[in-house]
């Protein structure tokens, strides 16, 4: 059987979901038997080198670069999975959704305690190289079609493992209660 090819990315996320992915511990040895990684922070491949079977998305969509990356993922992956609260609902970054953009900028770059003195010229970053900030943080499925959702902040390693295993082998996914219980 050809090894399945996986890509992963962290958009507006904290990398916690990827950390949880690594919490599969020694099963990572089984994993490399089953899959190869393409574009992913795990192997540090920056650009898609081929078509992939599965894409895992951490984090929501907060700027124009996230949109671009997410659309790339949709183009190159047969199956896309939103993993983690941020990807599914925007998560913590989406707290800014109720605050006008101008206020967010002013707090972040002009008046916040950590920048107050440092930004004497009162500059709001506007270099062309920088991604443009979106009016709000979007969940991934409001930008591209997402096939599966793994809840949790972060999702448990077992949930990630079980899901990947099922997607790769075509077996039914095991979701025992412990794996999706959150308190």
């Amino acid at each position: 059987m050809r090894k399945k090819i996986i890509a992963t990315t962290s958009l507006a996320g904290c990398f916690g979901c990827h950390m949880s992915f690594l919490d599969i511990d020694e099963r990572i040895l089984d994993l490399v038997e089953l899959v190869e990684f393409d574009k992913s922070p795990i192997d540090d491949i920056k650009k898609f080198t081929r078509e992939c079977d599965i894409g895992l998305i951490e984090g929501g969509v907060c700027n124009s670069e996230n949109v671009e990356v997410l659309k790339e993922f949709r183009k190159h992956c047969k199956v896309l999975v939103s993993f983690g609260e941020c990807a599914i609902m925007g998560g913590l970054p989406a707290l800014r959704n109720t605050v006008p953009i101008r206020e967010c900028f002013e707090e972040a770059y002009l008046h916040g305690p950590s920048v107050e003195e440092a930004n004497e010229e009162m500059i709001l970053p506007n270099d062309e190289e920088l991604p443009m900030i979106l009016d709000k943080v979007y969940p991934c499925h409001e930008v591209v079609k997402i096939d599966y959702f793994l809840p949790g902040c972060p999702p448990r390693a077992d949930l990630i493992w079980n899901t990947l295993y099922a997607l790769v082998t075509g077996e039914e996914v095991k979701i025992p209660y412990e794996v999706i219980k959150y308190d």
């Binding site: 124009s64 900028f105 506007n126 979106l134 930008v143």
Partner: protein, 600 residues
């Protein structure tokens, strides 16, 4: 700060934390809002935490935390108000006052606010201004009203319209509200003098016999759920507890219902007598009429009626000369929350708390108000019970159908020539009723309010009764010019979003998600999957704690079932994904703020 005036109010209610609603209502009325510095005083005097006071204040629509204008205008935004020209009225208010809805004019004179159905669907658009009801508003009248506000006139003199008919014109009410009684049956017939049952029948009957008679009549609750009334009374009679209570539910929050308002205006004696009758049957000593804030204009009148009944020995000690039959009634006002019509939320509210429904069991007949056995009945149920005792269950059973005996008072509104209340035997078809109300060219009827069913002409031969189309009485008619999805379903979803108490996750979120989906479809971005989602998602609503959440998806469910074509014609064919995400629009604002040209 001078706290004397607050202390006086709290003292008037015996520093009783369970009377928090009354305390807050008085402060609200005196100041036009609940100033923050009143909270610690209330908390200290009633012995509850300030957070407790705060959570109650924050729950109710009519408790304002900020000054809301010397004239606070609450303009109804129910579906019928919109159909009858609310938009023009609202625009005129905004133009004349210079502020938007949700704001107070700069000089602090006038505040404009939306509010859910205020029980005037047969005379929309309607508004409450400082508690006074204004109906049939037009842009012309709005200009006149605002002019009079600027001249500093009292609310009573804001408008030159006359008074409504019947008791509405009495000095104690003086409201422009109309009764619009279009059809009378045995309940609304004036062939009965208040107190006759208490005076003439009860001395011959034991409480058990009263219950038996109500049971024989097969009377079921008229508030919507249809629980057998005799059985409820019996449960309460059997429940252990030295003190028992009778509540009359006059919250009447279901949009499109207004019959309880008319019953309380024209037959208050009958309602109170019904409560006394229930008290006799159950052995209760105290009665509370829980009435919505929107009907505050009836307060003086209702208190007067109670006073008269006390004078006539129809309330108080040894009622009607029956030894040991002691019972009295007081009013308990709400402060704007549809969910408080749900019986256990109503009890919470009456105890001075947030109107959050309780888990059941235990049911109120066992553990109700203050944990004691309590009967809660709808206004109309109690009226019917009196007539049953007067004319006999035999007589009552001659009316209606096999499974639904007697009559039902319907509140009919929307696109028809004769909106108003209709007392009908159970068993008429929707077509019959449309005929009676003078409705032509009908596209749809909402039976039972937003929580009920939206039916199409194919179903107009269905019958109004518990077995087929059960209803608490709301009957809203839409003609063929109405946009069902935009004008009706969308409005109803906004209603539920506004009114959910927020305790249950599905109830708090699903109506919002459904509304978003609906908006997506209406904006032309819908795909087939959206219809599938609209069908599947509401299933989870069954697990909600109370009837509000359990029915909050009904506008979507029933319109999708009966008007599917309206949805389908808006769906994009041949596309399976479209969230309508627009990158250009999404970055517009941030680029403007930092001063850069978007490059896409």
């Amino acid at each position: 700060m001078d706290t004397k005036w607050i202390e006086k109010i709290v003292d008037r209610y015996g520093r009783d934390k369970t009377r928090l609603m009354d305390i807050l209502i008085e402060i609200q009325q005196e100041k036009g809002y609940i100033p923050s510095d009143t909270l610690p005083v209330i908390a200290r005097m009633t012995g509850i935490s300030q957070a407790w006071v705060e959570q109650t204040v924050s729950f109710y629509h009519f408790f304002r935390r900020e000054p809301s204008g010397r004239y606070a205008v609450f303009l109804n935004n129910s579906v019928v108000a919109n159909m009858m020209g609310r938009d023009k009225v609202a625009r005129t208010f905004e133009e004349e006052t210079g502020c938007q809805f949700g704001e107070v004019s700069e000089d602090g004179l006038i505040g404009l606010f939306d509010t859910s159905c205020i029980g005037m669907s047969d005379q929309e658009p309607a508004a409450l201004i400082n508690g006074k009801v204004f109906t049939r508003l037009t842009p012309f009248r709005v200009r006149e009203i605002v002019r009079n506000m600027r001249a500093g006139k009292p609310v009573e003199e804001l408008s030159t319209s006359g008074y409504g008919g019947g008791s509405n014109a009495l000095p104690l009410i003086r409201a422009e509200v109309r009764n619009n009684i279009q059809r009378k049956g045995p309940l609304l017939e004036e062939n009965y003098e208040t107190g006759t049952v208490l005076r003439e029948k009860l001395r011959l009957l034991t409480p058990e016999e009263v219950i038996w008679e109500v049971k024989l009549s097969e009377l079921r609750g008229r508030g919507g759920a249809g629980f057998p009334t005799g059985l409820k009374w019996e449960f309460c009679r059997r429940a252990k507890g030295e003190k028992k209570y009778i509540f009359c539910n006059a919250d009447e929050g279901e949009p499109g219902t207004f019959k309880d308002r008319v019953l309380l205006t024209e037959y208050p004696g009958l309602v109170f007598e019904g409560m006394a009758l229930a008290a006799y049957a159950a052995g209760a000593s105290e009665g509370i009429l829980y009435i919505r804030y929107e009907y505050k204009y009836l307060e003086r009148y209702l208190n007067h009626v109670l006073e008269e009944m006390r004078k006539n020995n129809l309330l108080g000690k040894n009622i009607a000369g029956i030894e040991g039959f002691d019972f009295d009634i007081r009013l308990q006002y709400g402060a704007g929350a549809y969910v408080c019509g749900e019986e256990s939320a109503l009890l919470e509210s009456a105890e001075g708390k947030r109107g959050e429904p309780r888990f059941k069991p235990p049911f109120p007949v066992e553990k109700g108000y203050l944990g004691r056995p309590t009967i809660i009945n709808n206004v109309e149920t109690l009226c019917a019970a009196v007539k049953i005792l007067y004319f006999g269950s035999e007589w009552y059973r001659t009316m209606g159908t096999e499974n639904s005996k007697g009559t039902k008072v319907l509140s009919i509104s929307g696109d028809c020539r004769y909106p108003g209340i209709y007392e009908l035997e159970w068993g008429y078809t929707v077509n019959d009723i449309l005929d009676m109300a003078g409705a032509d060219d009908v596209q749809a009827v909402q039976v039972g309010g937003p929580s009920g069913t939206l039916i199409s002409p194919e179903e107009f031969s269905r019958i109004i009764c518990y077995k087929d189309l059960a209803t608490g009485g709301s009957f809203i008619i839409f003609n063929n010019r109405r946009d069902i999805l935009r004008d009706v379903v969308h409005n109803f979803m906004e209603f539920f979003i506004e009114e959910s108490c927020g305790s249950c996750v599905p109830c708090r979120n699903m109506p919002w998600l459904l509304k978003q989906k609906l908006e997506k479809i209406l904006s032309g971005h819908g795909v087939w999957k959206d219809l599938e989602d609209l069908e599947k998602w509401p299933e989870i609503m069954k697990i909600n704690r109370c009837g509000l959440g359990q029915t909050a998806a009904n506008p979507v469910i029933t319109s999708l079932r009966n008007f599917r074509a309206l949805y389908e014609e808006k769906i994009q064919k041949g596309r399976c994904f479209d969230e309508g995400f627009d990158l250009e629009k999404a970055v517009e604002e941030s680029c403007e703020v930092v001063g850069r040209i978007p490059l896409i």
